[in-house]
């Protein structure tokens, strides 16, 4: 009876499928088969996550699903799935180029599934401690994948990533402990004092000053993982040196997960109501990230670092939005999270193919994409314009809401926001034009090597994401809107 109930619980599948396949892929020698299995497993996870729409399980002490994490779970499963498709095509060409050995690949696939598992666990955990452990595990798995290429740069990036994020994680744990201390007198000892679903109900009675203190540590701790300036240092290098599929999921998913953790704590604060408002801290962090990234964009010569910094910029905007709070800004923030993860991963898909074709990551070495590879080139153009915040793509809607609502309330805060956005816009446009137009570099591979199937697999995810983003820019499904609005209310 209970067993059958468990079997019907989508969460069980969502978590077990990646975990099991991680174990299995670790021992599977044939990398082509592994890549295929990787796709199948992620497809299964995605299918299971879709079941959440029809049947939303009851929250337990350990796991739960609510309006906030339901679409994040589906989004994560979806992007993880499309990334595996891209990854299959990508590693195909990497192995041709002798950059990756089968051993590396076995490790890679297994770690990929493990990584997906940790993210899903962090999203669905109903316990601050479990969530913390999951995020920490996510760090470990990605550190290993960032150093996959074993180049000096890769190892240095991994080291930087590892040290900074371990410290960040540590601080986050201290924050978690403080929250427990704040909750414990009200909720009593044990796991109750760590369960979101229970805490949020009685958060009003928590010790507000402890929550203040806790939020600082959580902000710095998980903020490091979100990549907020000045805690961002690990992000550009980790994105730049790892394999591109990993950059896609790091940027598109991991940052969201960390931000999700941060927002959960903000919900407690909002529910408590007696604390100092966390808004100003987040607004400041957001603005500093926005400006730092905007100016950095002008000096980047490495295409992957360029978009890594653009991720920092967008995380800054999102944090700013949540810092502003209020139904409009919060809605915009949630929308922006979703759109950014879709768009940015799409961009990294494109970047992966582009760098493989050009044989370099240097922007100077990439020109005239729309001439050499029309489909890829224009897809890249659309994606970058989308991330730059141009309609009819989704990011525009969220930026529209953030700017308008902020200006209506705090014009003085909106001005720096606008300046920063405009700066970043200019930088991206100039870089985009340099890469997408003009006379192509002589001797660039005009047609992607490998089978037609591989080419399709390489392009499909990009266009799938962009289609979603364009649709979302003009029309959002009603249930999603309902969830956004419910969460926006909770975020205060």
């Amino acid at each position: 009876m209970i067993a059958s109930g468990l079997l019907h619980n989508p969460l069980l599948w969502i978590l077990s499928v990646p975990l099991a396949s991680a174990g299995f892929l670790a021992v599977l020698p044939n990398w082509r088969l592994a890549a295929a299995l990787n796709i199948v497993a992620s497809a299964g996870t995605f299918a299971a996550s879709l079941m959440l729409f029809v049947h939303r399980p009851e929250p337990t002490r350990l796991l739960f699903i609510d309006d906030f994490n339901i679409y994040l779970v589906v989004l994560t499963a979806f992007v993880a799935f499309t990334t595996t498709i891209f990854s299959a095509a990508y590693i195909g060409r990497e192995t041709e180029a002798q950059r990756l050995s089968p051993l590396h690949l076995r490790f890679y696939h297994s770690m990929y599934q493990a990584f997906v598992f940790t993210m899903l666990l962090a999203l669905t955990a109903n316990n601050t401690g479990v969530m913390w452990v999951a995020v920490e595990a996510a760090t470990l798995t990605t550190v290993l994948m960032v150093s996959l290429y074993r180049t000096r740069e890769a190892i240095e990036a991994a080291w930087k990533y590892f040290i900074l994020c371990s410290v960040g994680i540590g601080l986050a744990l201290f924050g978690t402990t403080l929250v427990y201390l704040a909750a414990q007198p009200v909720m009593g000892d044990g796991a109750d004092a760590m369960a979101w679903t229970l805490m949020i109900k009685r958060a009003g009675a928590f010790q507000p000053d402890l929550l203040n203190l806790a939020f600082v540590f959580v902000l710095v701790g998980y903020g490091t993982k979100v990549g907020l300036a000045p805690l961002h240092a690990w992000l550009p290098d980790a994105h730049a040196e790892g394999p591109t599929p990993i950059s896609a999921v790091l940027s598109g998913l991991l940052l969201n997960v960390a931000l999700y953790a941060l927002l959960r704590f903000k919900m407690l604060i909002a529910a408590n109501g007696h604390t100092l408002t966390p808004g100003p801290l987040m607004v400041m962090m957001g603005l500093s990230s926005l400006f730092l990234a905007a100016f950095m964009l002008y000096r980047r010569g490495d295409i992957k670092r360029l978009f890594a910094y653009s991720s920092i910029e967008h995380m800054g905007v999102i944090t700013f939005a949540f810092g502003m709070g209020g139904p409009l800004a919060n809605f915009a923030g949630l929308m922006h999270m979703t759109m950014h993860s879709l768009t940015k991963s799409a961009i990294f898909f494109a970047v992966g193919i582009i760098t493989q074709n050009a044989g370099t990551k240097s922007i100077a070495g990439i020109r005239g994409l729309t001439t050499t590879h029309p489909v890829l080139g224009w897809g890249f153009v659309v994606a970058v314009l989308a991330i730059a915040g141009l309609p009819p793509m989704g990011v525009f809607m969220s930026e529209f809401l953030v700017v308008t609502s902020t200006f209506a309330r705090e014009p003085l805060l909106a001005v720096p926001l606008i300046v920063g956005l405009l700066l970043a816009f200019g930088a991206l446009v100039s870089r985009l034009q340099g890469m997408a137009f003009g006379d192509p570099v002589p001797g660039v591979i005009v047609h992607g090597t490998g089978s037609r199937l591989a080419t399709i697999m390489a392009h499909l995810p990009l266009w799938a994401h962009m289609t979603l983003v364009v649709i979302a820019g003009l029309w959002l499904p009603a249930p999603l809107v309902a969830w956004f609005q419910a969460v926006a209310k909770l975020l205060g």
């Binding site: 710095v220 730092l292 730059a388 525009f396 606008i418 405009l422 003009l474 029309w475």
Partner: protein, 668 residues
């Protein structure tokens, strides 16, 4: 219904262009489709204006912002601008049928051309801020892609870069503007904004922001810098739309916000707009008269005409706020009339340039000459356009400038001293601009079409295909028509703006048709109709008299030229030499125009060189220095990329301690 269908057609066309772009016939299909669609929209606009001017059909579709949805509305103003837009759009599409195949990479044009039309028309019918901005950006984006149609040339890429960045600037000004008008509630429909009361500061900011946002798109000085870069870079039929029409869409945005949504705008803003308009007009035409590239010249003259129209709008605002609705209506009618006229003759001139490009492949004045004998149709049509833009009666350009002058002359009746003293100055600026425009186009036409060919390309020019000729002739005919029967236009215009001003004000009030007597018969009147008829009679009379009294023989001979016969066409006046006196008189100070002459040594057979240096003070002062600033900061910030892990940890530590201190301080 018709309109909706036309709207639906355009994206379909661009999709078609994407799919079948390889086929040779696809261009013709796309442009024919655009022609049809824009004609439908044109008809729709006219029917709405003629049929039931008061009504404003609305449409709400279930997309856009979730809790707002997408609102569309077709009121008089939208319909009027729809007419303006789609008139030129139809012309450009028709021209494109033949011209589209002459652009270097047609496949980079056909998919975006319909989207461009789509965006522009979308702006006009949008009835909530989100849809407005989506369409607005759509317009910018499509035109950006069109500017990049010939992307292999570096200057085009630079133009596109500057253009899109300025477009972004405009949007980031309009966003907060609408944000303020909607208020924190988040109801972004225009209907809500109309009723929403604005605090004084908010009202101030709204006007400032819309002037920056829409002004940058319209090309008001000092936000004009992108315009002469971007407009010429696109294929000519697109340049015609960007210059003739997209700027009008920007004016629509201004009017929509300042007269409709915002409601009460202070007269000071009117005054400010008049000054900006005046300066824009003079600077624009001064730039124009010095240009050698015909398309750049036309682009700068667009800047001028926008300035003229904005003078009208500003005056209307000032009158409206000072409780002079009748005069406000007059000024607004004048401004709108000028917008309409400019869209027509600027399209005509740009398409004419396209014809020249098709025939010669040259757009530099100094490589042209003597085209009138080789391209009689194009030449004649271009002449009409040039005369119209020089505000010569009986063509349309003059009527609108006459109206603007008439309303300007009423300006001093306003109670404010600033206006009393400012209006004459603006009047002087406007007069100067008008006179310089004449000089500018005498130069352009004289050098390009008259005289002797200055290059092989010009010598070998042949008349363009019939479709192009037809388009040009139709536009020229419109210039004459709108000039010869102004009253029809002014009456319908005053009907259009009645809801915005609050009074219905027939400009031909006193004397009735065909006399244009805005402020009353005693205030001075004009009748293009009568002038045309009498002028024609006198022309005929002169010819008859001469032929009656004298001999009719006519002999062709070499030019006399004070005796010394010089058959080298290089001996003609070039565009530069023509502009030289004007340059010395007007451009010395504002553009720091300098001329350097390198004379060869005695006995040296090398040619003497004469070079002119112009500096655009706005570009140098504003844009370049801003760019430098950004670079400098970027260099500083960029250091953060190259620190050691330990220092990054230090940054983390510092952040943590700082935040802890903040908490410690803020704690009760």
């Amino acid at each position: 219904m018709l309109i909706a269908a036309a709207f639906a057609t355009l994206p379909a066309l661009s999709l078609f262009a994407l799919l079948f772009g390889r086929r040779a016939w696809s261009h013709a299909v796309v442009y024919l489709g655009c022609l049809g669609a824009s004609l439908c929209l044109l008809a729709g606009g006219l029917v709405h204006l003629g049929g039931h001017p008061g009504a404003a059909p609305t449409l709400v579709l279930p997309f856009g912002l979730p809790w707002v949805e997408a609102h569309f509305r077709l009121d008089n103003l939208s319909a009027l601008f729809m007419v303006i837009v789609d008139l030129s759009a139809a012309a450009a599409s028709a021209f494109g049928i033949a011209y589209g195949s002459h652009v270097p990479e047609p496949r980079r044009v056909t998919p975006f051309f319909p989207l461009f039309l789509f965006g522009m028309n979308g702006v006009l019918v949008a009835d909530d801020a989100f849809m407005f901005l989506v369409a607005w950006e759509f317009m910018s984006l499509a035109s950006w892609a069109l500017v990049l149609a010939d992307h292999t040339r570096a200057e085009n890429r630079k133009a596109a870069m500057v253009y899109l960045t300025m477009a972004g600037f405009g949007t980031f000004c309009l966003l907060p503007c609408f944000g303020l008008m909607a208020g924190p509630g988040g109801d972004y429909t225009f209907a809500a904004m109309r009723v929403h009361e604005l605090a004084p500061t908010a009202g101030f900011l709204v006007v400032l922001l819309v002037l920056l946002g829409a002004g940058s798109k319209a090309g008001l000085v000092p936000l004009h810098a992108w315009l002469p870069l971007a407009h010429p870079a696109a294929p000519s039929h697109v340049s015609a739309l960007m210059s003739g029409v997209m700027t009008k869409v920007a004016l629509y945005g201004l009017i929509r916000v300042l007269f409709d949504l915002h409601g009460e705008v202070g007269w000071q803003w009117g005054a400010a707009m008049m000054v900006v308009g005046g300066v824009t007009a003079v600077l624009g035409v001064l730039y124009a008269v010095l240009q050698d590239d015909l398309k750049v010249l036309l682009a700068y003259s667009t800047v001028e005409n926008i300035g003229v129209a904005v003078i009208g709008l500003g005056l209307a605002l000032a009158f409206k706020d000072s409780g002079e609705p009748a005069l406000a209506a007059l000024a607004l009618v004048a401004g709108l009339y000028h917008a309409l006229n400019h869209s027509i003759f600027k399209s005509l001139l740009f398409l004419g340039t396209g014809a020249i490009l098709t025939a010669t492949g040259e757009k530099s004045l100094n490589a042209l000459g003597g085209l009138l004998n080789r391209m009689p149709w194009t030449g004649a049509a271009f002449l009409v356009g040039a005369a119209a833009i020089s505000a010569l009666p009986p063509l349309n350009g003059f009527v609108s400038e006459w109206l603007i002058f008439q309303s300007l002359f009423q300006g001093p009746s306003l109670p404010h001293w600033a206006m009393k003293f400012g209006v004459p100055v603006v009047g002087a600026l406007l007069a100067l601009a008008a006179a310089l425009a004449a000089a500018c186009f005498v130069r352009a036409y004289g050098v390009a079409f008259l005289g002797r060919p200055r290059s092989e390309a010009a010598r070998g020019a042949v008349e363009v295909p019939a479709v192009m000729r037809l388009t040009l002739v139709v536009l020229a005919a419109l210039c004459v028509l709108l000039g010869a029967m102004p009253v029809v236009v002014t009456d319908s215009l005053s009907g259009v703006i009645a809801p915005l001003i609050g009074v219905h004000f027939p400009v031909s009030a006193d004397l009735g048709w065909p006399w244009l007597s805005p402020v009353g018969a005693t205030r001075g009147s004009y009748s293009g109709t009568v002038l045309v008829m009498v002028g024609a009679l006198m022309f005929g009379a002169a010819i008859l008299a001469v032929h009656g009294l004298g001999v009719r023989t006519l002999r062709r001979a070499a030019a006399w030229d004070c005796g010394h016969v010089e058959d080298n066409p290089a001996s003609q006046y070039t565009g530069d030499s023509f502009a030289q006196p004007l340059r010395r008189v007007f451009a010395a100070t504002p553009f720091r125009a300098r001329e350097t002459v390198e004379m060869p040594e005695p006995g040296d057979l090398g040619p003497a060189r004469h070079t002119v240096h112009l500096i655009d003070p706005v570009w140098q002062g504003l844009y370049v220095s801003l760019g430098r600033l950004v670079d400098a900061i970027a260099d500083q910030v960029n250091r953060l990329q190259f620190l050691t892990v330990r220092r990054y940890l230090l940054m983390m530590f510092a952040t943590l301690v700082l935040l802890l201190l903040v908490v410690a301080v803020r704690q009760p």
